[in-house]
């Protein structure tokens, strides 16, 4: 009797517990080794960019919430900021601080959620619940200021929607303290774990050149040793007023990406603390031109603005032809760019590494498909 082996095509997703959304990966495996991998996207495509062309400028803000719904504040911000740049608006001081506070809190929430789900992919169930508990403290704070837990719709062109309620700044300070303590606990629970390190060190290596060539951004890029963070290199809003570091690692593997994100949580908490100290007690929170929501008509021109979201560089390219609606909105979504490297990373790896590598890129499908 003769035997022969066959390659097997395995369809992971669009319904699979660890693709975090409707992502589909067509993998061919020989035994447990991956010989080819083809990401298939588009299951969550909503045509956000086209929708923008039929909406007033301020009406598009809620749509940006739904791109990377884990980190909606930065999406809100970058869209508003691009319109503001086109109109040449001066943002009130207090509004800038509220923007920074909410954006950085949201970054911590986003990284916490990533940490929980990534550890769940690794087979540890408890971190998931710990992460969600702490993320909820942040969502409570954001809920108090914006009235929503995930899709905030908080920023406005020219400022923010509402001022912080009474005692909010103090509660933020308490939350920061609490999370800093807890993160330390989690770090000691997970990071030193032998099994975890064996699974993450040296896995999914991205070299410096490769990371740049594929256009990676955010923690995935910084874990490969490229010290690039738009908050520092091209300061937008008032990021130049804060003292914080850009964590980088040289290894470029899953473990490095993990460490970079954990370090970023600490840095974001530092920014939040400084902002809490510096924020003016009162003042305008929105430019007077931004108050008339449906009357916003930027002058003719085009602009590209970018910001550092929790996943990487988020950018908005905006063209105005002096109408109530934008002529064209192009969104540069970090997850969409970051996920492209996946195919190259997966080939030759065992299936068990697949979820670790995919998880370490921190991809959100709302953002991949827009």
């Amino acid at each position: 009797m003769t035997t022969h082996t066959e390659e097997m095509t395995l369809n992971m997703g669009p319904q699979h517990p660890s693709t975090h959304g409707v992502f589909r990966l067509k993998v061919t495996v020989r035994g447990e080794t991956i010989t080819s991998a083809e990401p298939i996207i588009g299951y969550l495509h909503r045509g956000s960019e086209k929708l923008a062309e039929g909406l007033a400028y301020s009406q598009f803000i809620p749509y940006t919430d739904r791109l990377d719904y884990m980190n909606a504040m930065t999406n809100n911000y970058i869209y508003c900021a691009s319109v503001e740049e086109l109109m040449g608006l001066e943002i009130p001081e207090r509004a800038e601080y509220l923007r920074i506070l909410t954006m950085e809190l949201n970054r911590v929430a986003s990284h916490l959620l990533w940490w929980g789900t990534f550890m769940l992919d690794m087979g540890a169930i408890s971190p998931f619940l710990y992460a969600f508990r702490d993320r909820d403290h942040i969502l409570d704070r954001l809920n108090e200021i914006s009235g929503a837990r995930m899709t905030f719709n908080y920023m406005r062109i020219g400022g923010v929607k509402w001022d912080a309620p009474e005692g909010w700044i103090d509660r933020v300070k308490e939350t920061v303290e609490l999370i800093r303590e807890n993160i330390h606990d989690y770090d000691t629970l997970v990071t030193g774990n032998e099994i975890f390190q064996a699974r993450s060190k040296g896995v999914g290596y991205i070299s410096k050149e490769n990371a740049v060539n594929w256009g990676l951004s955010g923690p995935a890029l910084r874990a490969s040793g490229v010290k690039f963070d738009i908050r520092k290199d091209e300061p937008y809003s008032i990021y130049d007023r804060f003292d914080f570091d850009i964590p980088t690692r040289e290894e470029g593997d899953v473990f490095a990406r993990y460490k970079v994100r954990i370090a970023e949580i600490y840095e974001s908490l530092k920014i939040v603390e400084q902002a809490c100290e510096q924020i003016p007690d009162e003042g305008e929170i929105i430019h007077k031109k931004g108050k008339r929501l449906m009357m916003i008509k930027p002058p003719e021109g085009e602009v590209y603005k970018r910001a550092e979201a929790s996943k990487g560089e988020i950018g908005v390219y905006l063209v105005s032809n002096k109408k109530k609606e934008p002529y064209r909105v192009k969104l540069r979504r970090p997850s969409f760019v970051n996920v492209e490297i996946l195919e190259e990373l997966l080939i030759g790896q065992p299936i068990a590494n697949l979820v670790a590598i995919f998880g370490s890129l921190d991809v959100v499908l709302g953002e991949v498909d827009a």
Partner: protein, 319 residues
């Protein structure tokens, strides 16, 4: 024992074990719940004690689905083959000095030999489902269970050498006579036993055959309703059996202070082992399949062999 009392005993034991499994599942969910800062099930009955009953009831009244492409006969047979041996091995367990079914003088051999049949159930279930995830899961499961069976058996050999008998009751009597539970003189063996037992049971951190994040649900992906319940049942009964074996050979079986009956001490020690497994599940991430194999063959088996050598030397030296 005569035939009738034997059947009666088996019937009663089956009921008790089912109740025990229900309790174990609740215990697991509560323990993990509190470790994860939540309360676990608390809706059905006081302290959620009827939760498992409700779950089982739900599984029993669900539609019985057999996939069209499945190999029907094998598919139906697999859960039974997985369950029967895990229950049958309980026959040799001696719950106290007087309460036991079979006083086999090859008790350990019977226990280990029969329990490896469960592997066949896993293989059949994964193969017959005609599902890729199930196939991968069952291949992993079989590779893992066979690899870890070896250190498991070798770790017990040390005890057998010391005691000079394969009879589970004799092992307990031996511990009574030396006044020492065997996990102290056989510490190395005990450690190897615990680790390979976890892998044998497919429990976290070695729960690769049903690695949820990779393989959806592993070898029982296609199973639902009461067939699925049988796989779950087999898993928990096997966990109980392995705890019972650990209690007997390493923790002095029913031995304990006299003010409470032996059954109580036996159950208490068993619960301790179960607790350790739940505890690990709440703490550790999952190991990778190749690391698992490396660890089994390159670390655990040499350790178990070393244990046998040391034990033999001591045995000869002590006369």
């Amino acid at each position: 024992m005569e035939l009738m009392p034997m059947v009666l005993y088996a019937g009663v034991l089956l009921q008790l074990i089912l109740a025990g499994v229900a309790a174990a599942i609740l215990f697991e969910r509560k323990v993990i719940g509190y470790m994860q800062l939540r309360t676990g099930p608390n809706r059905h009955g006081p302290w959620g004690i009827l939760q498992t009953v409700a779950d089982v009831l739900k599984l029993l009244i669900k539609e019985d689905i057999i996939p069209h492409a499945a190999d029907r006969k094998v598919f139906v047979l697999a859960p039974i083959i997985a369950f029967v041996p895990s229950f049958a091995i309980l026959a040799t367990v001696s719950w106290s000095e007087n309460l036991y079914a079979a006083d086999l003088n090859i008790g350990v051999l019977y226990f280990i030999g029969l329990s490896s049949v469960t592997t066949l159930g896993v293989l059949m279930g994964g193969w017959s489902s005609n599902n890729k995830y199930a196939l991968l899961g069952s291949m992993r499961g079989v590779a893992q269970m066979i690899s870890y069976e070896i250190p498991l058996v070798l770790s017990i050999v040390g005890v057998v050498i010391l005691v000079g008998s394969l009879n589970l009751r004799d092992i307990v009597f031996f511990q009574e006579s030396i006044g020492l539970w065997l996990f102290i003189p056989q510490f190395l063996g005990f450690v190897v036993y615990m680790i390979s037992a976890i892998a044998e049971l497919n429990r976290s951190p070695f729960d690769l055959p049903e690695a949820e994040s990779e393989l959806v649900s592993g070898y029982h992906t296609e199973y639902s309703g009461f067939r699925m319940a049988f796989f779950m049942l087999a898993e928990y009964v096997y966990a109980i059996a392995i705890s019972a074996l650990a209690t007997t050979i390493f923790f002095g079986g029913w031995l304990g202070p006299d003010f409470l009956p032996g059954e109580f001490w036996f159950l208490l020690k068993m619960c301790f082992f179960m607790f350790v497994w739940f505890w690990l599940r709440a703490t550790l991430p999952r190991a990778r399949v190749d690391h698992l194999m490396n660890f089994g063959w390159k670390v655990l088996i040499p350790l178990a062999l070393l244990n046998i050598v040391i034990t033999s030397i001591i045995k000869v030296w002590m006369g």
